[in-house]
Symmetry: C2
Amino acid sequence: MLFSSITKFIRSKAYSRLWNLTKKVHAADIAAVMARLFPNERITLFQVIYSHDVEKAADVLAELEPDIAADLLIKAQLSPREMVEIFRHIDSDDLVSILDHLPEDVSEKVRSLMAPKRSEEVRELLAYGEETAGHIMSTDFYVLHQDTTVSDAITAIQLSREVESGFYLYVVDDEGKLVGVVSLKQLILNPPSTKLKDIMNPHVISATVDMDQEEVARMVSAYNLVAIPVVDHEGKLKGVITVDDIIDIIEEEAAENLLKMAGLEEVDRITTPPVKSIKRRLPWLYVNLITAAIVASVISLFKGTIQKYALIAAFMPITGLVGNAGIQSIAVMVRELALGELTWENARKALFKEIAVAMGNALGLGIVVSILGYLTTGKPVIGLILFLVLVGDMFIAAVAGTLIPIIWKKIGLDPAFGPGTFLTMLTDAVGYLLLFGLATLLIGHLM
Amino acid sequence: MLFSSITKFIRSKAYSRLWNLTKKVHAADIAAVMARLFPNERITLFQVIYSHDVEKAADVLAELEPDIAADLLIKAQLSPREMVEIFRHIDSDDLVSILDHLPEDVSEKVRSLMAPKRSEEVRELLAYGEETAGHIMSTDFYVLHQDTTVSDAITAIQLSREVESGFYLYVVDDEGKLVGVVSLKQLILNPPSTKLKDIMNPHVISATVDMDQEEVARMVSAYNLVAIPVVDHEGKLKGVITVDDIIDIIEEEAAENLLKMAGLEEVDRITTPPVKSIKRRLPWLYVNLITAAIVASVISLFKGTIQKYALIAAFMPITGLVGNAGIQSIAVMVRELALGELTWENARKALFKEIAVAMGNALGLGIVVSILGYLTTGKPVIGLILFLVLVGDMFIAAVAGTLIPIIWKKIGLDPAFGPGTFLTMLTDAVGYLLLFGLATLLIGHLM
């Protein structure tokens, strides 16, 4: 409803009505609508909001996917100075992800125009590798010395500005090392003269600046945290990552895995321009072309058999079935690898399990397929051939479906991207070898 | 390291060393190890913990996936009375998800043995449909009347026991209707005599009891919340869902989507017994068998052409390529549908975009494939046929890849489960029709 009203106002150029509508709507909802708009409409909406209220425009930018936000700033032709003005209203962690997606020269220009303190803060975050805890952490948090009293802590919070991760107060020693955490509830529940070190929880779970963001997400998820402090290698507190950013990471990773399983390494959207989408999808299709050519060469080995007994070609789709069974194995392995529940150590057990499942499925399918093969051709030998193809090829599918993702991960590749294609190449090639090979051997019984 | 120590102690039956190790470890870490253990080892570990410390055993159960936890309780042969004793230490929301996975008779027996108040609370949660906000909410939260003063609120919190969602205090009117929310920080920052209604945020984002859990997750994610109150249809506050449960829902949904895309409707793990896995995977393979049979019947129409010109069969893997391009479209649509960014209204734009991308890819692939076809056979007409097959079949792949997931969703099916198989059936069938059909028409030029 919001979406249709907004598009209607944009198309009819009813900009003041557009602003009257959007000014009352939560920035997250505007961002959700923007994500569904096509680029030119998105720019119009942004410009309308920006011309009325810079802070609202900033809120919307912070809620957008950072690549969309950066693209919007460029397409809306904001000058670096205007960007700096908007960025004043954006938290450092969100700002860093937008800067990541701006062209290098624009990003540099913008940073040179920022207040020195802000610029330095952003420079530090940008210096940590992308997708590390240091890169995505916020530098906005409550931190106090361990000798502070509860009443001084309350005063400090009263005097400080609103911070993003305001449920906890982090406690440090003389050297700035993280030594504990105090919840705001504990401040309420304890006498004013108590020192923080006497009420803090010293067993604080923290991440290190160079930790991979997905590892941090796993920690927050496993320990049910709402924020996790980030320390450097000396244990000094450098920042905090809040759970809303963790949710973004988990959702991003999930979306990436889904797209990767389908052979898309980069996020592709319905609003991505076609030429960009082609650039993202075509390379993978060329890899598929190579595997298809390998399978084609296997088929062409059996030209003679096909010529003599053309109907055997009708049974070729059986390998697709086996390929899908192998993809099931891969999906299970990819999930277990992502959860950290499958390692090189228990791979052997996983392999035996998958082989057992494959043999069960081969039996279940094989009986039906052989009967169908016999009934449609009238030749029992066809039933036998199909049964053997299924058993042999399902065995290969189980072994490849288990081991390819594990090996992929072991050599540092992403198990969600690639294994499916190599598996189906293998199951097609082995399947056709078995189908046509057995047919060649038994050709006398077929004719 | 923890995993290998634990398995070593289990295998060598060193149970007191096992307890000494596990008693110092966070329940979440023990649960993570348990998820990787095979059922008999998992039972042993659980029994060792349970025999020493019921509360720790309860913490571990609450951290496990609920189906694994329920299975463990049954396999460890705990009596309903023993289960009730453990459940006393588990929050009502976690308890409900475990009860969901216990056999109906055991669940009933357990509930009949619980304290009446607890039993009633659990009965109410269970009464809401599975996967709704009401079913998964916690009934542990701070709630106070709007006329309460800050100092009385602080006293109330001091007197109440620790609650799971303790960052906010929910404010209700005389009828128990949710009217606002106060953060604990606001209690600190405001004078003791202030009434909650004067400091509360009245724009509180809430879920309703019958809202789908994934819808709730989307709200928490979009608005960056750490907890969301749940109200009934009269606006009365019934419970709270905390962000850690939301993360579980998001992760579960992501895992399910990944598995569904691969044709697995239920979660399957490497520790799932093979017979259960076969039951989960085989039905889908039978569906695949039907689609394979349809494709086989298309091929068998062209027996004559294949007999006359067997080499054409070698080009059959080309349809696999097209199928993969279609799967790319499906993955993009499934993601956009999940994010709510693709609807029936903008489906037309998505379709045009996908067709444009498909034609670009068909051109990019077609040139290479026709040259390869010409070079390997020496016949230009083969190049022409392959080019036409690619263009025609890629068009079908784009249309099917866009529309099948949208139609699937429109008629209430899950767009992640099924469309892939129907798409590849279509691209195979159309691809073979085009390949063999054109070959039949042009057979004179081929021989």
